[in-house]
């Protein structure tokens, strides 16, 4: 029998440090998209609050509690990560497992937004894009999800199939920022 072993999307590519910036892979976790059925968003929010203590996120925002994160993920869609979805949620929303579908990385270090400024047409400076803010936006032609985790730390997600391109593009931007000194 062939022995198969699980491999994360960026297993052979990360971590990577250039200058003050570090790009590392986020430990894989259960991820599920929640898409509320028509007219069910309030009921879904109540169910989420009862189960995880998290309400349905507003557009461009995320909430987190005790290792569970709820991330706004597009129109009428949120991504639940860090916990398996409660079965009761399926009364209010379509649940789709995304756990193996995304490359999830973290870019950290002073000036992380300078590197992202070379990749995304969105203002990610701390005065505008604060902790917990999230954006679905273009990252070098990839449909990315970007979330600020802290003062100098971002989570970046793209489709798993684009992991290598993501690392290559972010690495190039990190090098360009480092070269400016």
């Amino acid at each position: 029998m062939v022995e198969l072993s699980a491999k994360t999307p960026c297993a052979d590519l990360l971590p990577l440090t250039v200058g003050a910036l570090t790009l590392s892979e986020v430990a894989p976790t259960v991820m599920t998209t929640l898409s509320p059925y028509e007219g069910c968003r309030d009921a879904l929010s109540a169910a989420l609050e009862a189960r995880y203590g998290l309400r349905w996120p507003k557009p461009n925002r995320s909430t987190a509690k005790a290792g569970v994160r709820l991330l706004w993920f597009g129109r009428d869609m949120a991504l639940l990560s860090g916990a398996a979805p409660d079965r009761g949620l399926s009364d209010h929303a379509a649940l789709v497992d995304q756990s193996d579908g995304w490359a999830v990385v973290q870019l950290s270090g002073a000036g992380a937004e300078d590197a992202l400024a070379r990749l995304c047409p969105v203002d990610l400076r701390p005065s505008v894009f604060k902790r917990g803010h999230t954006a679905r936006c273009d990252l070098r032609h990839m449909m990315a999800s970007i979330t600020r985790l802290g003062p100098a730390s971002f989570q970046i997600m793209v489709f798993r199939s684009m992991a290598e391109t993501l690392v290559e593009d972010v690495k190039t931007a990190m090098e360009a920022v480092a070269a400016r000194g």
Binding site: N60, A135, C137, D138
Partner: protein, 90 residues
Amino acid sequence: MRITCPLCGERDRREFTYRGAALDAPAADDGAEAWHSHVHLRQNPAGPLEEWWHHQQGCGSWIRVRRDTVSHVMLASALAKPEDADGGSA
């Protein structure tokens, strides 16, 4: 060109794909002439035009945008209403 997405805010045009003018479809029994006009004939105005744009690289919303075709000023934008949602199958 920058387009205001009602959910995401002002974004670069590269995040959007264009569908075309936002037109009211004739009724199913309006006859061939009305449908021919709807499918094939366009006004091409020099000035404000209602259009459909898809925020493909962002939140995935269909947006009804009022754009001045002369100056490319974006005059208004709103999410497609649920009854307009089938405007998405370009």
